[in-house]
């Protein structure tokens, strides 16, 4: 049962081969048994899950037949869930029970999904290894001595280990796509504004975007259909009708023009990953795609630009965690300044503090123009690069990450080397375009991801290409040993 995809679960539930409750109990037992090795859950919501599963079964008995009715999922622990801890992987929110549901949570619940729990993540989504969580590092099921990627590392590890078939993630600089690549999943970061950010605790508001993570493109399409759409509570969500993501999956790829940016295949890329990526290109060619070399000349500036903008916004977004209204408060503060200083010093971890410091500095009087404004200018150039590229090609393809999953602790002493792991994913966030990572092979038993990037609001195209590729490949079906 635990190997089934969401689409397969839907068929089985429809055919009454098992009930949502049976499936839920099976997966809860699996989580209990296996998650201690992975640490992918921060909270397991057994009671809620059983209640939701029973409700889904009742709805089905009453004649409903939605594709997600009874589908077990998990939420990254920065989506607010009413009455349930929403920690963001941080001590400062360890005691925080959100008083409301995020729009994504609400929409998925309305579609009949069953929430098995809240998934581990880098603290406030800041990280690429899921090592900055207050609840401890998450391990990669493909090699327990390695990181699963981050920041949606809990979601990735849990799905890869078949603890659940799908989950929500968020992606600010690659936090859905990079862990998907490192754990052999399909993960989609939608166009900025496609999925509501209401109830998604903000890291960098102009870059954050929620999206689906699953084993197949089809499952991502199922989840996205329920998650996406305009939300009047989020001013940056876009009022544009949704495409039929499921219907788009079966489109043939004949005539698809794929661009290969030379900047994605330069120095720093593991040559074995390059080979795996090119093999997937060959497969897509066989499906009818044509390939063209292109250039995204401003990509080299993406990381410095991102590491100004994201921390700048974070420094402001995280100001509300001050020990006054919710979350962690230090013991016996002597005065207001002491309350602020110690609550934040004790509540936040090192990486969060590092980014708050960087962001505060970048926005300071006298530095704003040199850092923040400059970074915004680069951001516009990067956007223009993509707009120009998409005049020549329909899709851009490259590696999702320059390296395979690394050893736990390996990059702790050198944060910049970890920042560089985001080099291929960050541009999509800066430009706001959608991006998807899909499994494309293995090197020494570790998964390789290929990234597809598309013009604004063409999630359907990304899912279509990934789905077609998954019809002729089986990488995505492989499971890690022991799970």
């Amino acid at each position: 049962m635990h190997n089934l995809t969401l689409a397969e679960i839907a068929r089985n539930l429809a055919e009454k081969r098992f009930s949502a409750e049976e499936l839920t109990r099976t997966l809860l037992a699996r989580i209990e048994q296996l998650d201690p090795q992975l640490n992918s859950f921060i909270s397991v919501t057994d009671e809620l899950a059983i209640a939701q599963a029973k409700a889904a079964d009742a709805r089905r008995a009453a004649g409903e037949n939605g594709a997600l009715l009874g589908a077990p999922i998990g939420h990254k622990d920065l989506f607010c869930t009413q009455g349930i801890r929403t920690s963001c992987g941080s001590r400062i929110l360890d005691s925080f029970k959100a008083p409301y549901d995020a729009t994504v949570v609400e929409r998925l619940a309305a579609a009949g999904t069953v929430t098995l729990g809240k998934l581990n993540m880098d603290e406030f989504a800041m990280g690429s290894a899921n090592e900055s969580s207050y609840y401890g590092a998450v391990k990669n099921p493909w090699d327990l001595s390695r990181v699963p990627g981050g920041s949606s590392g809990g979601s990735a590890a849990a799905i890869a280990a078949r603890l659940l078939p799908a989950a929500t993630g968020t992606d600010t600089g690659g936090s859905i796509r990079q862990p998907a690549a490192l754990t052999n999943l399909t993960g989609l970061k939608p166009t900025y504004g496609r999925v509501s950010r209401w109830g998604m605790v903000a890291y960098a508001s102009s870059l954050d975007q929620g999206g689906p993570m699953a084993r197949t493109a089809e499952d991502c399409a199922l989840l996205l259909s329920a998650m996406a759409g305009f939300d009047p509570k989020d001013s940056t969500s876009v009022e544009q009708p949704l495409d039929d993501y499921l219907a788009a999956l079966s489109q043939p790829l004949a005539g698809l023009r794929i661009g290969l940016p030379k900047e994605y295949f330069g120095a720093g890329l593991d040559p074995k990953i390059a080979d795996a990526v090119m093999a997937s290109v060959e497969e897509l060619k066989r499906l009818g795609a044509t390939v063209k070399d292109i250039s995204l000349p401003n990509m080299q500036h993406a990381i410095p630009s991102y590491y100004v903008i994201a921390p700048a916004e974070a420094s402001s977004n995280l100001s509300r965690f001050d020990g006054v209204r919710f979350g962690y408060r230090c013991e016996n503060p002597v005065d207001l300044t002491d309350l602020y200083k110690r609550s934040r010093a004790e509540g936040f971890g090192d990486e969060v503090k590092r980014r708050i410091m960087v962001g505060t500095y970048a926005l300071s009087a006298g530095y704003y123009d040199a850092y923040y404004l400059k970074a915004q200018k680069i951001r516009r150039l990067i956007k223009q690069d993509f707009v120009a590229a998409f005049e020549q090609v329909d899709l851009i393809l490259g590696p999702t990450t320059p390296n395979l999953a690394w050893k736990l602790g390996e990059k702790n002493a050198d944060p910049v080397s970890a920042y560089l792991e985001d080099i291929y994913t960050i541009t999509a966030n800066l430009a706001g375009i959608p991006g998807l990572s899909m499994p494309a092979g293995f090197i020494d038993g570790l998964p390789v991801g290929v990234q597809l990037l598309a013009p604004y609001f063409q999630e359907a195209r990304l899912l279509n290409v990934a789905h077609q590729y998954q019809q002729v490949s089986d990488w995505h079906l492989r499971a890690p040993a022991g799970f």
Binding site: G199, A204, S316, S319
Partner: protein
Amino acid sequence: MQWETVIGLEIHAQLSTQSKIFSGSATTFGAEPNTQASLVDLGMPGTLPVLNAEAVRMACKFGLAIDAEIAEKNVFARKNYFYPDLPKGYQTSQMDHPIVGKGHLDITLEDGSTRRIGITRAHLEEDAGKSLHEDFHGMSGIDLNRAGTPLLEIVSEPDIRSAKEAVAYVKAIHALVRYLGICDGNMAEGSLRCDCNVSVRPKGQAEFGTRAEIKNVNSFRFIEKAINHEVQRQIELIEDGGKVVQETRLYDPNKDETRSMRSKEEANDYRYFPCPDLLPVVIEQSFLDEVRASLPELPGQKRERFEREFGLSTYDASVLSASREMADYFEQVNATCGDAKLAANWVMGELSSLLNKEGLDIEQSPVSAEHLGGMILRIKDDTISGKIAKMVFEAMAAGEGSADEIIEKKGLKQVTDSGAIEAMLDEVLAANAEQVEQYRASDEAKRGKMFGFFVGQAMKASKGKANPGQVNQLLKKKLEG
């Protein structure tokens, strides 16, 4: 040395929207603490702001009324600082791209002259909550009802040259926002608050002196006193060889002094940057046209019309147009009686002194505009004299009814029957036979003076009710014999 005062004002006007600027919570004043604070107002993790379109409309109204540039795009920015009653750790405000750009407002001074005061900009922002330091046994309470209330911050150019001008300017802004219906102007409840930037310089010097900012002055009277005190302090300081330092000061109305709150060095670096949760606000020309069409007649336009249509002096016209309520009252009186000059005289004379004495606003006037206009009609048609009218007015103020009812009830109708007046005059002359003889023996010049005595006696005898014109005429005839 002769000193010149330079003043610039920042006025925070609380916009009278039904709900907050970025959330659906109500904005009613005085509710139980934290009963009007939603998830957004509490700064809950994951919540997002949605701009209240009504606040934008109100700001545009103001911009059009001061003839300001309204840019096609305005941008919200975050002003970052920590304070317990600032739930998000930043205030959403506007910095580089305010909704209202350069404009101006004309003010009328007491001598009837007018001055044009430049307005640098006006921007939208959210208010903070309130810290409550009493009743919590050494702890502080936070009330977030006010957090997120929309404010329009109106920043003047340093064009103001005296405390009196400052007050005239604040009054003009106060009148304007009330005319526009965008702010209730209630200064006691903090709906209109003022920060005063004050500096002095030797007369004739072009550069400005160093300024001090007096925060949160909340009445016209305090504005005048605070500025006067601050100007005096700065002049004395400089004349004693000291230097004014740039700082924020607080005015203490109890001691009538300002004191330092924080220096420039202690000032926060607010790290403004565009708020990523809100899109730039695009103002379409069609929207502005629609707002412009909805504008009421403004104080300046009203003043001009009062001068033009009714032949009132600039000063009278500006007093009568100073508030919408005052202007409406005056126009109602005029509409009832059809005599603008008499209406103006009564509104600015008897009525104003009555309101002053009772400490009432025009909306609370015990004499309605219809009653006052009705009384003036009776003056015009000679039913009562001006003198009797004052009695009628007092009776109306005491709630005894309309002028007609009072005239009827108290028998105050003017006597115009010549026979009755003659009979009364005969009695008066008979009672003052000696004076009559003197009068008749006197020359023209002396007679003129004595005539007044007889008129007085006659009016007294008639209890003021005899028609003064007829009394004059008949009396003259009788005395001349």
